[in-house]
Symmetry: C2
Subunit: 410 residues, 2 copies
């Protein structure tokens, strides 16, 4: 049942959140700009920013040379996040490597640790230990920043259980069912959150392209896996892991090619790197998928397909068909205004586009409403990091700092 949302304290919290959100989205800006951006009155902005400055969450920036053309009148004082107000530790765990980044409250990267990962990594070292060790290393290198740590966020691939039970399945060996979240949480006494990589991709795309910020977008990652995240006009559904999907494991063809997940006929089994290679080399569909594919091998195949080599183009056609039918089926359930293709496979977009469009054209929604715009982006790493970063910092904004702690400080 709906619950109260609105005594006068909630109003304040809400408006603080609005201000922090505006700063997060648009960067440092003047109070006047904040008033315009949030719709609040100048008077309220003054009160709220004074509050936030008192609590050292934001600070006035040094006067910048004016860039906005205005030359007359009192110059604006920009306010922006106080970088020392807090920090977050962000893990991105992949099949081939793990990366831990320390960022401050302003979103600036402070330090970073990269570690190669093999299928044996988490067999030898329990995940909780692995994460803790790296956090300790980070702490020893950045004692000051780490003292203000407020959140640990982890990006993983796989399926998150229905009720916050963590990873129930993952292509990263020995990571599923490992109780590292609770461990870290208890050890550190901090909120630790787990995010699906595909979902962060969508989140990141939203932050990287302002046009997408409030749109509904499906972001498809094509590479060593096939994944998809969705955003709906600015918010995922059901707070939690809303927007996360298992697109790569949507069935493309009953009883079809063997997938890494053990099922048969998944889209990924045709469109992820290993699937494309398998097709190109005429390896039987039921052959066990290669655990990892060296990127130069995949790149090489793209090059050969672009040069017109039959087996290669055929493989990418197959991949395109799988993705296309998958999108066409998805659109029967949810039809986004934008579709983004990202990841290593985005480079092969040209090779798959024909089949994708053909499959999409057979969706009733598309025939009636027209094909959605599909765009390929070639950088896949930063969207994930960006998504993890912005999602975590926004969470700190709203959860830690928006419920005003004790009224005006001092």
């Amino acid at each position: 049942m709906a619950r109260k949302v609105s005594d006068s304290d909630s109003v304040r919290r809400q408006n603080r959140g609005l201000v922090l959100g505006a700063l997060r989205v648009q960067g440092p800006q003047s109070r006047t700009a904040l008033a315009a951006g949030t719709g609040l009155s100048h008077a309220s902005i003054t009160a709220i920013t004074a509050d936030l400055i008192n609590q050292q969450l934001i600070a006035e920036l040094e006067a910048e040379p004016r860039v906005d053309g205005r030359t007359r009148g009192r110059p604006a004082t920009l306010v922006g996040f106080e970088r020392r107000a807090g920090a977050a530790a962000l893990f991105e765990v992949d099949v081939t490597r793990a990366r831990l980044s320390l960022v401050d409250y302003g979103g600036v990267l402070v330090d970073r640790i990269e570690t190669p990962v093999t299928p044996l990594t988490f067999a030898h070292t329990p995940a909780a230990v692995f994460f803790t060790e790296r956090l300790e290393l980070l702490r020893s290198r950045n004692p000051v920043a780490m003292a203000g740590l407020r959140r640990v966020a982890i990006s993983v691939q796989g399926i998150l259980g229905r009720n916050d039970e963590g990873l129930v399945w993952s292509p990263i060996a020995h990571l599923a069912h490992a109780p590292f979240i609770q461990c870290l949480n208890e050890t550190l006494g901090l909120p630790v959150s787990l995010h699906k990589r595909g979902r962060l991709l969508a989140e990141g795309a939203r932050w990287l392209d302002p046009a997408l910020h409030d749109a509904s977008v499906a972001t498809v990652f094509v590479g060593s896996t096939v994944a998809m995240g969705m955003t709906f006009g600015g918010q995922g559904i059901g707070q939690g892991n809303g927007g996360a999907t298992e697109f790569g494991h949507m069935n493309h063809m009953p009883n079809g090619a063997l997938c890494r997940c053990g099922m048969r006929g998944c889209i990924e089994a045709y469109a992820a790197d290993y699937g494309v290679l398998r097709t190109a080399y005429s390896v039987p569909e039921t052959a066990h998928p290669a655990p990892t594919v060296p990127s130069q091998e995949y790149e090489g195949l793209i090059a050969r397909a672009e040069a017109g080599e039959r087996a290669a183009t055929h493989a990418f056609n197959q991949a395109g068909r799988a993705i296309g039918w998958g999108l066409s089926r998805m659109m029967a359930v949810f039809d986004p205004a934008h579709i983004l293709i990202v990841g290593p496979g985005a480079r092969a977009f040209g090779l798959m586009q024909g089949e994708i469009s053909a499959a999409l054209s057979s969706a009733l929604v598309c025939r009636v409403n027209g094909l959605p715009r599909i765009v390929a982006h070639h950088d896949e790493k930063e969207p994930i990091f960006m998504g993890l970063l912005m999602k975590t910092l926004s969470e700190i904004d709203q959860l830690d700092f928006a419920p005003l702690p004790a009224r005006t400080g001092v």
Copy 2:
């Protein structure tokens, strides 16, 4: 960009909405119960209900005999909607008939007009005329109630355009692209809204079963068409037609059976009544679908299948397979806590269940998280009406009555 949500007026509006919502969901109740249900203080409830009573939106009910067991203390005064506060006209348009219901603000059915519809109906009579005529008839029979008309809502099948452009495609002949919404809107000077039938089904299920009210549910209609609506913990995405899907026209098999929509291989082409009959009678898949199927024929087929007749059971197996793979594919994108099967086809659920489960088992999400609970409901008419009714009345609550018009009205 996020905009202001919260000056003190919005707080009032918000809380009025909470009160109206609680009354809508839980029916007439005491102020004390409202306080508990909304989380507001008794003092606020007093103020808000006084306001609402002043504006004649709600009224104190006659003392009812106590049923709650409490026998001591001051008896509660129940407040409930003032039925005369407004009315709504609800059209349910189907392939075979149209129904117009007049309901008052309390949700009580006042009058109803039913009209058979044929494929020629809207060829002879423009939709706008058809609707207007019936509204006029209703007005002549209920001048008083119709004077308080606040909304016209129409339930249709088909695809709604992306930007409120109305029906772009519909299985109801000559209804797509007809500008009846704007016409009615201008003629009546009232908001006229169009709803997808499948979406209302989900909405209705939510209101009919309290356990589903705040859950995420996929409601599948199986009958003359196959349709699906989704709810996400109480709210559709993207306000508008969030939760609407084109599930029936999700592709089941590339280049498969011919569907009424003109495409090939849609789920509907296998699982709607005409599809099942076509399979049962070994009519070629590419044969043009029957425009309508008499319900006794469909029922008869169910009976024969239940009696074990081969052709019939095979047809329902096919249908189950189409629905099952469709659900399995849907679950890769959105996995609801409940799946409801409703409509005439729900009676055949037992015949399809095996194939549905088999297909679902091949979804990774299901293998990992377990199969979702699938339940068949046998009544399909009332959920649609209920959905249309509650959605429209809630809209009046929130849009017309929550933004308090002019402060206390003497």
